[in-house]
Amino acid sequence: MPGGALPEEFGERRSIKIVLANRDRPRENAISECEAAVDPIIWNDWHVVGDATELRSYRPLTTILLGIRLRISRDLDGAITVTREDHGPLLSDVRHGLVWACLGRPTQPIVAIPELDEADRCVVTAGAVGVHASAGRVVENFLDLGHLGHVHAGYLGEEAESAVAPYVVAPLPGGGIHASGCKVFQPVASPSAKSGFTVDYRYKVERPFTACLYKSAVSQPARFDVIYLFAQPVGEVETIVHALEIFVEDGVRPAELRAFQQFIFLQDKPILENQNPKRLPLGPRMEMPVLADKSSVAYRRWLVDLGVTWGTTSAQDEVVAG
């Protein structure tokens, strides 16, 4: 079994472990009920399941991914192990300061984050927040420009400036969507902002439940602060939201960055938990977008094209629901 002897990254030992439960039973005959319910795109994707910096050797973590209970532990040498409580097979990895798991056979590597290689970055994991909402609804909220002046009024937007100017949405070469040319006036764009300014926004969605935001850095507006959002699908309508912040170093304390991100996300949480249906509607009839929702429309279409069904409702469900 490989593991343990791989290069160090971000001060943590990176290990890849393949845990095979029962070698006598081939995997094909052991498809769990959970796997049968999950579409292959989500089942075979890598998902963040924990924050490696929070793990202590004396206190293993338990969590749930796609309905399957996981146990994450760290030994005294720092090696991190993820296992399924049902002893089924699982791939795990530690990358970007986060613990990753894949229940199936990955078709793509864990997302690359080149900004983490820049020396003058303040890198913070901003906690894990449980939300009673589907991962798709969480990602869509992260991409949403129209709510900034209302849900985050006084911070990431202002009522009087809540008009959404046209922006560009294009497919990413490797799959996914890219939104650019977004401009938002923000009274308090980040904890180090001393006054309001018009912030350039770009978004990238490379995986169904991973999104990232680039926004003009306060101290160097030509560079971008980067915020990654990883939505861990616990169940179809239960999600744990992990955030990773990669800010241009400007003297702000990591604790302030973390607190600010949590404060902002806690403004979104009650909205997300009051959306009905909790699953993301992928059919065209159930919810009515406007031009400002270009990213959301592209995101939903991309999920349809990929064949993602987990945590969503289809056009057919909508017809049945009337």
């Binding site: 008009a163 009650p270 977008p289």
Partner: protein, 194 residues
């Protein structure tokens, strides 16, 4: 969808600017009184991104959604303003699903389907009783009400979901409201312990 008029709130549940949340036959409802007095009974979800209207706010004759501050007009439920595009008139198709409403005898009545013009005619000199939620199906509650001896009251049911019903009633003598409450509470306990 079920036809017929049902009481779903008391008129007193709707003070100015409040949005009352309830449910009828599995349909979540947001009920609010506009500044002009009209009572709106709306499906409790914004047609834009599904957020419950009941966490929104009322501004005179409009309800504003909590998520993107879209405004919807009392009566028709039509969207009147989308702040993301302040210079565009919202499309006609963007509207709240509004059900008919009638205030009668201190209760708010609605119907989800059908074409009956109005709820049953009620005695004019009655006062609304406290609503009594019961964790039992409508059939069982109706049977228990029919069998109960409660003179001087007129009882109605609001089927909420498969296993939950609200009893709403009118009392002929306001001085006996306390006794009627106690009787309904006993009825609830008997039903739920059965």
């Amino acid at each position: 969808m079920r036809e017929g008029w049902y009481p779903i709130a008391a008129c007193d549940d709707l003070p100015a600017a409040h949005i009352y949340q309830t449910q009828l036959c599995d349909e979540p409802l947001a009920v609010w009184r506009a500044a002009d007095g009209h009572v709106n009974v709306w499906q409790d979800r914004c047609p834009h991104r599904g957020v419950r209207f009941s966490i929104g706010t009322v501004h005179a004759n409009e309800l504003r959604c909590r998520y993107h501050a879209w405004r919807f007009g009392s009566g028709s439920g039509a969207c009147t303003f989308v702040p993301a595009h302040p210079d565009r008139k919202p499309a006609d198709a963007i509207r709240a699903t509004a059900y008919p409403s009638v205030e009668r005898a201190g209760l708010v009545w609605t119907r989800l389907a059908g074409d009956q013009a109005a709820p049953p005619v009620l005695l004019p000199s009655t006062v609304p009783m406290r609503a009594m939620p019961v964790n039992r199906a409508e059939d069982a509650v109706v049977a228990a009400i029919s069998a109960a001896e409660m003179p001087g009251v007129h009882l109605f049911v609001q089927p909420v979901s498969a296993g939950r019903t609200v009893i709403r009633g009118l009392a002929e003598d306001a001085a006996l409201l306390g006794e009627h409450d106690d009787a309904l509470e006993r009825l609830r306990r008997t039903l739920e312990s059965a």
